[in-house]
Symmetry: C2
Subunit: 347 residues, 2 copies
Amino acid sequence: MVRRGRSERATLADVARVAGVSPTTASKVLNGRSDVGRSTRERVLSVMAELGYKPTAVRHERARGRALVTMLDFVESRYAGTVLQGILMAATSAQAELVLRLPPGEPISTTRTAARAWVDEQKESGVAGLVALAVAVPDAVLLAAEDLGMPVVTIDPIDTTESRVVSIGSTNWAGGRSATEHVIRLGHRRIAWIGGPPGSAPSAERFHGYQAALDSAGIAQDRALIRNEAFSVEAGLRHGRDVLALGERPTAIVAGNDEIAVGVLAAAKEAGVAVPGELSVTGFDDTPQTEWTTPRLTSVRQPLVGMGRMAVETVLAMADGVQPASRHLQLATTLSVRDSTGPAPSR
Amino acid sequence: MVRRGRSERATLADVARVAGVSPTTASKVLNGRSDVGRSTRERVLSVMAELGYKPTAVRHERARGRALVTMLDFVESRYAGTVLQGILMAATSAQAELVLRLPPGEPISTTRTAARAWVDEQKESGVAGLVALAVAVPDAVLLAAEDLGMPVVTIDPIDTTESRVVSIGSTNWAGGRSATEHVIRLGHRRIAWIGGPPGSAPSAERFHGYQAALDSAGIAQDRALIRNEAFSVEAGLRHGRDVLALGERPTAIVAGNDEIAVGVLAAAKEAGVAVPGELSVTGFDDTPQTEWTTPRLTSVRQPLVGMGRMAVETVLAMADGVQPASRHLQLATTLSVRDSTGPAPSR
DNA sequence: TGATAAATTCGAAAAAATTTCGGAGCCGGA
DNA sequence: TCCGGCTCCGAAATTTTTTCGAATTTATCA
């Protein structure tokens, strides 16, 4: 009366029969009752696994689709929004659920066991992998994830020293270099750098690209023309004023991101310096703002959507057991040349 | 055989008897099956509450945490990003999972049964409610959600005619009115309106606020000064040029959003019209751009984060059975006065 | 407009799962 | 050896869920 062709699903009674116990006992095992002997419990459990028994009542069929957790701090920026768009699109087309999370707080990020419990919980609820967006994923969580076999991919990690984690970024170095080479090709020789916070890895990488371009063009670096403070309009404005007030002022300024560049444009306007006539300015990120600054801003475009997409694809592949070709993937940047850069003024 | 003194707990059968349905139906209500009529469901639910029926075995957890689905089309805008930030924060503090989704596609949005199956699926995977962000939620899905008792809240719904759905917005009308009143107080009398797409509800509401302010100040509307096309810099630029080229040009322009306002500013600069000396301009949305336009843009600030937060709180409350006070909630806007508005030129 | 198909809604019967309660076996002490 | 207390299990009763078919309403088409 049981193995009828129709009923594909194993029932509790089937499990009980195979395990040689009563349905009652099987039910007790399922519900974690205490009045079941250890060996009996184990036998029942193993039969359940074998028959693939699913508590009918517990309709937690995660089998439908995989879930993916994305951790991020702030959505409220175009950067995060755009990457998220890529993540969302990729997740949708891979038929994976996308769960958003703030990074875990205190106890989890520090304690080893708490982290492990957290990851375990994620796993339990069907999460196939983690995508961390521009957050400092704490070591504890990473270790736990690794131990439990949950793939983690970070996008633009704050702290890139951790090489165990798969990370995805754009070629900040190449981007910084291409922006700088662009103005060098336009004849500029006195080129300032105004970057983001000294601790920021992306900012540092972009800066190194700037340095590399200067080096290979045989241009000496001038300390006075190099600033690193913050990714903000205010910082750009302040350092822009500063740099333009120098006795021998630069003819080009390479900014660490678009906001800084906007600040620089404001400083130039203040000082009555014509852009691009007397000064060329480049940004980084190619945010929509670049289209309606005056003049329109030349900027390095990061493949933000592509980064999100790549992160999802990588995580899902890892969940399937495919190791990525490289632990650190970089997508190419491109330079969007607009009106804020021009030939160096002849003097 | 039922009302035994010993068994204090009401059983499903008791509920069914009191509600005048079969135990089968009561069970279906308990499990959110779709084949129960609306009124029957409500009756059973109320009897359950009355008798204090508790599912004997608190069906395998579920207690872990609630999940919330947010549907959105595009994350890649500051608007969506900011609202999402509020949603994420509120969801986190309510210990709810946040699942992101693109709006369901073809078969689901049209077919009745497909929509119902979709909602059912959501429900089974533990989703407590739906938040739809600036999307046109198809009727089919809404109906299905309502039938199955899944709360839905829309934020800035594209199509506000649907009054059954709880929606959250900002006071577009009041915002449009306050911006217009602001310039009226500054002495302007000839005030243009450049808004978004004619079909857009928010745009229309803002426009009506503009009209109301003119009316109560006793200023006649001038057809030539009213434009509605698109929420874009280009549209703002084009109509800005147009309006400024009029014989008797306006001394103030109220724009439907910040992008349009940016376009207007560009048009004014082109035409050599001083802002705010000869022309006052207001935007709508208070995006960060407003801070670094020249001059800095006066704009209506929407409580975007608050809207996200409110949506989550409302949905979760509804999931707990609390009906919202109103089916359409509006959060107040405030006017951020900056440098792009000034006294009307005396002539 | 009428007929035909499809869908909705409900319940009886059957199946599945859980709880109650009692009993077998197993100590250890009297 | 007998007794009380204990653990572990299952039969029966109870509760819940599922299946499936019927009655009714709604949509669709000729």
